[in-house]
Symmetry: C2
Subunit: 514 residues, 2 copies
């Protein structure tokens, strides 16, 4: 990238011409180029205000903590930050938000950072909420010379139709909303056109580098660091170890050095675990409450959907519970959107590794036969329909299979994370698990969703504590199973949509029963 | 993919309904699913005539030789084959071509297989010649749930404008030509819309697998095997070794098992080297001929373009020669489109590895600090402009920077290989090296190319044995250097285009001179 950098500097200073480039480049022939910088401060020294910067990491896992600190100290302002989420308030990118160094964020999830949400609702900062897989693919495309691509993700939602709030005014009203995106049909299915992301800088973290910039990541800390390394004019990497040229075998290198411009070695990594979860021994297992019994009833029904050899993505919360009920001897591989295939149980205290978390940012382990990959690969896997089943929670589901689970306008700003991608894959069965009714008793299964959609016509099966419904295109809801003690009439009263009753209607099944 | 497979079988047999699927899936609960098949014959047993099949490999490097043999024996007919090139006549995919099992090919290069070209020109088989990077990206997109994407590759050529011959009639005339493709401008640059490829089967080769289907490739044998594994309903892999679950560390796995459906272990691999090249000792270096002197003069001028830290892609033939003149102590990393960064010299007899070849299918070595990757990553790197310089040969170059080097209609059918991708990246300097005139003395530098283009307005510098020209948008050709003993007038006589003369015109420089 040497020639390009020179060209850029010369162009910016209005002294560009092919001849002058040649001259200057000749002078540099004898200067041995190195990518290793002596400090984080030196590595970010030339980053100007107003830069568009990609920040690696998922939550606080795999974040470039030293480089972020240096950016904070330098006080770079008016940053457009691309980061999967808003992190936490007092660490990582949260530090730059605290200091109001960021004027715009492109993120899929901001739910863990109250200050970020406050700034957003107060009109101090813009947020372009973007599905996680779409961010990953926009970045992958940007690095790969692809200016735009079609994706099923977000079709029929605010993301495609426009109108998602990007910036609030100081009066609490929305000043800027997202624009509608072009759509096109391929093979009978509708897709959205998304443009790629290419930034001024990528600020990322890897485990090891060699002086050529070849990178190796640790476990699930690969996440967005991998695709981001390829999608910026200048890629700056901090690592825990710099090894000699040749110490990394050519086959183990995750990111070839061609993408990397600057390397620094960080010391004394703090590496927080956002949500420490430990394996429960039989003694300290929490006592069951009525709420928990309900959730376990749903989880035990979900577990009946598992088959040997299946690949399953479990949403945060209730869906994850069902993994406790995978029958012994059945091999179900759990996919985690942050870059793991083969999630295992929560770790013991000794096993905890901050570089190994799930999509809920909880400490986890992996099973033998697991693999790690970047967020671009993870969502290629998801969007490509390679996952057999995806299980998600819902705020509302419609009789035509629409799902709403990411936003309550004016009230709840969290973001869609990977949910829009997970439901968009043709080929992947979408199972919704949820309490049948909201806390105020109102139905969550409706003729038509009232909240902004996560996906349109994408639900295949609904499992609540009261019933199991199949959702079929052109048919609507069919009641397949009903909880013990409930009549079909009871169910009609607490359900906000018409449904057919299967001729084979049966009692709601539970794993382990016959 | 179990559920999807079941659904497909049931749909094909008109017995699909959600309930019957459930029933059948329940029966399978106790059947432990395995991906390991006992033989290549068993693994391809259900492949019907008329299938669309992806074939891994680059030339004959990394081809699934056992599975191809099994397909040959089974006699599957009317195959639509996606394969980067046509291989050789008597090995690999060439065996299926010999037996007329393939009715259509999607390939970037067919120059090494005379029988394939014969069948094509005789109208016995259709060929959709497609740029190598576009094939790789179509496959990557197919596996990633992206139905279409925009690429700079091929804009302004037959690939975009339509009219490339796909099928000849038996009268020698072209029966079917390629259709024009939609174009769109992003950020002032023109792009072509390409649709993705998703096949019925992927037939690929890896080095090792575990029973879950996790794959590890060897050196440059990764090539198209990696992206193809993700882009088919059924992916069948042959490997040299099956290791136990857990034997592959999660970070070293190149392809997670989720993409793999069937695995067989092959025995007695033949692994041909298409073009064995050995390092020349000083004694056996070939004596220089006038033709060679001319080529070396060009190569020694090209070498002046190298700078420390650059990444360079050298086309097959003359461009490769210039790597002999990289100054000692200067680090120039050579990219090879088949998935290597850090090409080294030709091997000694002992170093030859059939799994390690360059884009010209010659045996090579790598330097310390090299890395291997798949063809999708390689062309993402190329198309994304991460390579500083690409050096290519030419049949014709125009004063506006058009390049023609892939086809002489009705005469020469070879294919564009990766050339259209290499020249399409904005940000990458395109240097053309060529003899100034054709063998019949006619000029190759023209006002306008007469042959089908490889790229439009993409050449930056032309180096012949007679002169060096800069090509600038809106300016045209500027003569920068001229060979000793030639006058500007001499040059005008043998050049088919007008050119300006630089006020700093100098004698053609050579590396090592002052």
């Amino acid at each position: 990238m040497l020639v390009q950098q020179l060209r850029k500097v010369l162009t910016n200073n209005n002294i560009y011409s092919q001849h002058s480039i040649k001259l200057i480049a000749c002078y540099s022939t004898n200067v041995k180029r190195t990518k290793i910088f002596e400090s984080a401060t030196a590595a970010v020294a030339d980053i100007p205000d107003g830069s568009k910067i990609l920040f690696g990491g998922f939550g606080v896992c795999g974040i470039p903590e030293k480089l972020i600190d240096a950016l904070k100290t330098k006080g770079v302002k008016d940053i457009t930050a691309v980061s999967n989420n808003g992190g936490v308030e007092d660490w990582g990118i949260g530090l730059l938000i605290q200091q109001k160094q960021i004027s715009k964020m492109i993120a899929s999830y901001v739910g863990e950072n109250k200050e970020l949400v406050r700034q957003y609702l107060a009109g101090e900062l813009a947020i372009e909420l973007t599905p996680q897989g779409t961010i990953a693919e926009k970045i992958r495309a940007g690095g790969a010379g692809i200016p735009a691509f079609f994706t099923p993700t977000g079709y029929g939602t605010l993301i495609q139709k426009g109108g998602a709030p990007i910036k609030y005014g100081n009066n609490g009203k929305v000043d800027i909303v997202s624009r509608p995106k072009p759509v096109q049909t391929f093979n009978g299915k509708d897709y959205v056109l998304e443009e790629s992301i290419f930034a001024d800088y990528a600020i990322i973290k890897a485990h090891k580098a060699d002086p050529y910039g070849n990178l190796v990541f640790n476990k699930s800390a690969r996440n967005f660091n991998a695709p981001m390394s390829r999608a910026a004019k200048t890629t700056i990497v901090e690592v825990e170890d710099i090894v000699p040229v040749g110490a990394l075998t050519p086959s183990e290198i995750h990111i070839p050095g061609i993408y990397v411009d600057r390397i620094i070695k960080g010391e004394n990594y703090k590496k927080r675990v956002e949500r420490l979860r430990l394996r429960e021994s039989d003694e300290n297992k929490s006592k069951s409450s009525p709420g928990q019994e309900l959730r376990e009833r749903i989880a035990k029904r979900v577990a009946l959907e598992f088959r040997d050899g299946m690949y399953v993505n479990l949403g945060i919360g209730m869906p994850v519970l069902s993994s406790n009920y995978i029958p012994k001897g059945m091999n179900v591989m759990l996919q985690s959107e942050n870059g793991i295939l083969g999630l295992g149980p929560f770790p013991t205290k000794e096993q905890v590794d901050p570089d190994l978390i799930n999509a809920g940012k909880e400490s986890v382990t992996v099973v033998p036969g697991a693999s790690y990959f970047g967020s671009d690969e993870s969502f290629a896997m998801i969007r490509g329909g390679h996952v057999d089943i995806t299980i998600l929670g819902a705020m509302e589901v419609s009789a035509t299979g629409d799902l709403a689970n990411w936003m309550i306008p004016g009230k709840l700003v969290k973001g869609m994370g990977g949910a829009m991608d997970l439901v968009a894959a043709p080929g992947t069965k979408v199972i919704i698990t949820m309490e049948h009714n909201a806390k105020d008793g109102s139905p969550k299964i409706l003729d038509k969703c009232t909240l902004p959609l996560t996906g349109q016509g994408i639900v295949d099966l609904i499992i609540s504590e009261k019933a199991v419904f199949a959702v079929e295109k052109g048919v609507g809801l069919t009641l397949l199973e009903i909880a013990e003690g409930l009549s079909v009439e009871d169910l009609r009263l607490c359900t906000g949509a018409q449904f057919e009753v299967s001729s084979k209607l049966k009692k709601m099944a539970q794993i382990g029963e016959n």
